[in-house]
Structure formats: C-alpha cells, structure tokens
Amino acid sequence: FKGTKEIDADLLDKLEEALITSDVGAGTTEWLLNLVREALDKEELKDPKAVWGLLKDEIRHALSIKASPYDFSSDKPFVIMVVGVNGAGKTTTIGKLASQFSQDGYKIVLAAADTFRAAAVNQLEIWGRRTNSEVVKPAKEGADPSSVVFDAVKTAKETGADIVIADTAGRLHTQAPLMEELKKINRVLGKAHDTAPHEILLVLDATNGQNALQQVKEFGDALDISGIALTKLDGTAKGGVIIGICHEYKIPVRYIGIGEAKDSLRQFDVEDFVDALFV
C-alpha cells in the first residue's frame, strides 16, 4: 500500500508520538522514521502492520549488540567496576548481582568504595549479609576509594574469591575531578590485578530522558564502559533512550532492573524490551 499521502503522514505521526513519549528522543526518532519513509517510498510495505513491523525490526537490530558472557573461570578474580550518576541504582544492582552470582555458586567480594555519601558503606554491608558476600570497607571515613578497591582485590586473591564487584559513589559526569577519581580507581584495579577491571558497568536509570546520552558519552570518554545496566523498568518509564545509546555507542545492555528486591534483576532481552516499548 502506498496508501494515500494522508494515511502515510498520519501513520508517521503516530509512530513519532509513540517513539518520543517512550524517550527515544527526537534525533533517534528521526533516524528511525527516515528508514520507514525510505521503505514507504520504495513501496516495500504492504500495510500499517508492516510499517510497525519494520520499525520494531530496526529497533531490535540497534539493540542487538554481540557481547560475550562473563567468564568467571579463568584469571580470577573477575572484577566488575560499577559507575553512574547519583541515585541510578548502582548499590542495589550490585546487591542483585551478588545475589545472582552467589546462587550460581560463586564466592564474591564487594568493595564499598563509596567513601563519600552518608551511610553508603552501611547500605552495601546489608547487601553483603543478604548475599553471603564479604564486604571490604574503607579503613576510615573519607578514605581514598582507590585504596578500598585495591584491598578488595587483594582480599579476593587471598581468599580465592571468584568475583569482585566495586561500588563507587554517584557522581554527575559534569564534575571533572570526580571523573578523574574514577579513572584513578580504574588504574588502581589494574595494578591490583593486571587484567582488571574485566567489566565496567554503567548504571542508567530508565526514568531518565535525553541526558542519558550525555552520561554515556562522558562516562565513556573517561572509562572503557563495557556494559550497561538499565534500572527501574518496573515503573512507567520506557527507557527508550537506550535505543539511540546502543545505536551510537554499541555498548551492550547486560541487565535490567525491575524492582528493589535482590531477585529483581534480569538479563537484557531485546524481544521483551521492544514488546514493552509500545504497550
């Protein structure tokens, strides 16, 4: 169907509204709609259903980034450094990961390297108890986070732990000294264990709008972000900004958070995500 010009315009408006209201963003929406427009001009699409189908295919394609699963067997301990802006869900996600990995039989050390925020260490300690994970704490208040992560890797090597997960303080990517602090933590992890960190996980809040793109850019400039965890997808926000992020930066979404409890972590599933996007 080339339909009438009017039907096409109307349909494109509907597509645009669905995308924008899901936080896909104007730029990524325009890119997706242009793909649809090209297909319509070439008369490749039979009906509106085919149009929606093409849109979903393109989104699926953008989100499907090849990523090798974590290899916990060689070169222990496997070190995951968790970073992201304030309140995104880093500490909780670490608790969930620890819960998952310990159920899978792995021995875990958590590095409480948020030495800044009130009761941050207490918060991670509670997650440590819930998940049977050892928590390495700062030697004193306001300690250098780098020393905490160094101690944690050292402890893991001494105790034969399989995995180290390092919690860092929330920070805005606009704070240059704090981004430098992350780079230092990264370097120190490499000193403690020469292949570490094996994963730098950026935690993004699904409620965020277009600022998430800035977060990925700036954290990505400072560090080799190798994975994303998208939290709070149990709410009303759709997290559509992740489409443009994956399209541009090609960083795999490893996990999604769907609640506050320790079992509310899921491996990212492209199909599920795209289905939920247009509900």
Partner: protein, 303 residues
C-alpha cells in the same frame, strides 16, 4: 546539538527583513527540537508552539505595521520572537511561591517528601531542614523509609551533621505509626516543623502509593513536596499526575540541576499538576538548595 535549537531559530530570523508565516514555522520547528531534547512533555511542547505562533504572528503584524507608517522599529522580529518564547516559558513555570504553608495553632507543620526511587528525597530533607533552621525554625526529621537498606542511618547521619533532631524506629515496619510518633516527638521537643522522609516508590505500586495516602491521613501535613530528578524524561507528567491525584501536591523540588540535564520536566510537571516549583537541588551538600526562580530555568530549557 542540545544547545542548537533556540539559537538556530534566532539566527534564522535575524537575517530576515520580512517575516512571514513560513519563516516562523521553520523557527518553531527549531524550537520544537530544542524542547524535546530538553525533555519537555510532547503534548505540552505542541500547545506551547501553538501559543507562541499565535503571539508571534500577532507581533510581526504589529512590527511591519509600525515600519510602514515610517516609525522606527524598536525591536527586531528575531528579538520579538525570542522574547515571546522566553516570556511564555517563564509564565508557564511561575508564579514564584517558595513559602511553606504553616500549620495554625500549636501543631507542628508537616512537610512530606515523596517521589520515585533515587531522586534525592533524603538529601533534600536534610537540605530543607538546614534552610529552615537558618530561618529560625526548629525542624525535626522523621525517618519514614522502612524499606531501603540503611535509609534510617542515612537520615541520622545528615541530622547529626546539621545538629537537628531525628525521629527513627529501627523495630517498626509501620511507616504511618512512625510518622505519628514523630509528630508527638516534635511537640515534646517544641519543634515547629516535621520533615517526613518517605521511601522511594514507583507509581504503579499500589500498596506503596496507598501508604503515602495513609501517612497523609494520619498526620495531615500542610506541605507535600514531589521531589523529582531534573534528568527525568517523558515520564514526568505520568508520574507527577499520579502523585498529585493521590496526595494533592503543594510543591515540587527539582534536584541534580548542577548537572547538564536541561530540566524540561520543570514545565511539564508544573503544567500537569499546577504545583509550584519551590526549590532546586544544586549539589550533594546540605547548603545546595536554592529557592526557585523561573528565568534561569527557562533559558536552560530553551537551550
């Protein structure tokens, strides 16, 4: 690209001697892009552009009429257009109303902080206590988040730093009971304000949303503030509306404005609920709370 929309519109109009509808339409498209990139609600963006177009066309007719009559044109069409956008946006965010509503009689004034997970409620509770203490009040903090690990400790640490009393009960799983007890504690200690720090929650969680309604019914706070993260996207209106329908918000605090989020949610939330933006969170420190002023936020959103 984030900053281009508005300045591009300005550029487009600057070179024009004769401004007509097609030039305005092109400029409006630039503004639309800018507003969406700033996370302004889609529906609101549409109605904003309609209002601006209506005013702009009216203005342009006036300007060209003036110049035809031989009088000096005092303001270029570009400047007129820019002013219309800024004025319209500023109007949508005001009027400025940063006062707390105080309880009458000898009852402590309640201020209830509510919002999604991780937006900055606990931190803002501390900041607000700091601000109120400096104004001569005697605030008491109430640790009503019984779910998040170390939430009570977090508030206690802030209270300690600010030297304000905090009511907490580690053994209680009843947020309503804790809030009632805090009111009693405030009376005993002669505190005139109680700041209730509630747990973060999602609006789809009926149990938790009902808990907020139960707290409100029990302690009848004069002030219920929605704390919202400046980075919030198109979900702002949905979330704000649900909190507003359940609780009737007295105001909004927008946090993390020390970042580079454009903060379009500010207008979306105000427009959707009518609740005035009272304060802005500008950092993690207890002194990083400002009283809201619309003009700074308007140009930040327009970009």
């Amino acid at each position: 690209t984030l900053q281009k929309g508005f300045s591009k519109a300005r550029q487009r109009l600057r070179g024009e001697v004769e401004i007509d509808e097609s030039v305005i339409d092109a400029s409006l498209r630039d503004i639309r892009l800018s507003l969406l990139e700033a996370d302004v609600d889609l529906k609101l963006t549409r109605s904003f552009l309609d209002r601006v177009k209506e005013k702009a066309l009216g203005e342009v007719i006036q300007i060209s009429a003036k110049s035809k009559s031989g009088k000096r044109v005092r303001i270029s069409a570009a400047d007129a257009f820019v002013k219309i956008c800024q004025d319209e946006l500023t109007a949508m965010m005001g009027p400025v109303n940063t006062e707390l509503e105080m309880a009458s009689g000898n009852v402590p004034t309640g201020v209830m902080m509510v919002g999604l997970n991780g937006v900055g409620k606990t931190t803002t509770t501390g900041k607000l206590a700091n601000l109120l203490k400096k104004k001569g009040h005697k605030p008491l903090l109430c640790a009503a988040d019984i779910y998040r690990p170390a939430a009570i400790e977090q508030l206690q640490v802030l209270a300690g730093r600010l030297d304000v009393p905090v009511y907490a009960d580690f053994n209680s799983k009843d947020a309503v009971g804790i809030c009632k007890a805090a009111m009693t504690e405030a009376r005993i200690r002669n505190c005139d304000i109680v700041l209730f720090d509630t747990a973060g929650r999602q609006t789809v969680d009926d149990t938790l949303m009902t808990e907020l309604q139960d707290i409100k019914a029990a302690v009848k706070p004069k002030n219920i503030f929605l704390v919202a993260d400046a980075m919030i996207g198109q979900d702002a209106v949905i979330t704000a509306r649900e909190f507003h329908q359940r609780l009737t918000l007295s105001g909004v605090v927008l946090t993390k404005l020390d970042g580079d989020a454009r903060g379009g949610a500010a207008i979306s939330i105000k427009e959707a609920t009518g609740a005035p933006i009272k304060f802005l969170g500008m950092g993690e420190g207890m002194d990083k709370l400002e009283e809201f002023r619309p003009d700074g936020l308007a140009s930040r959103i327009l970009g």
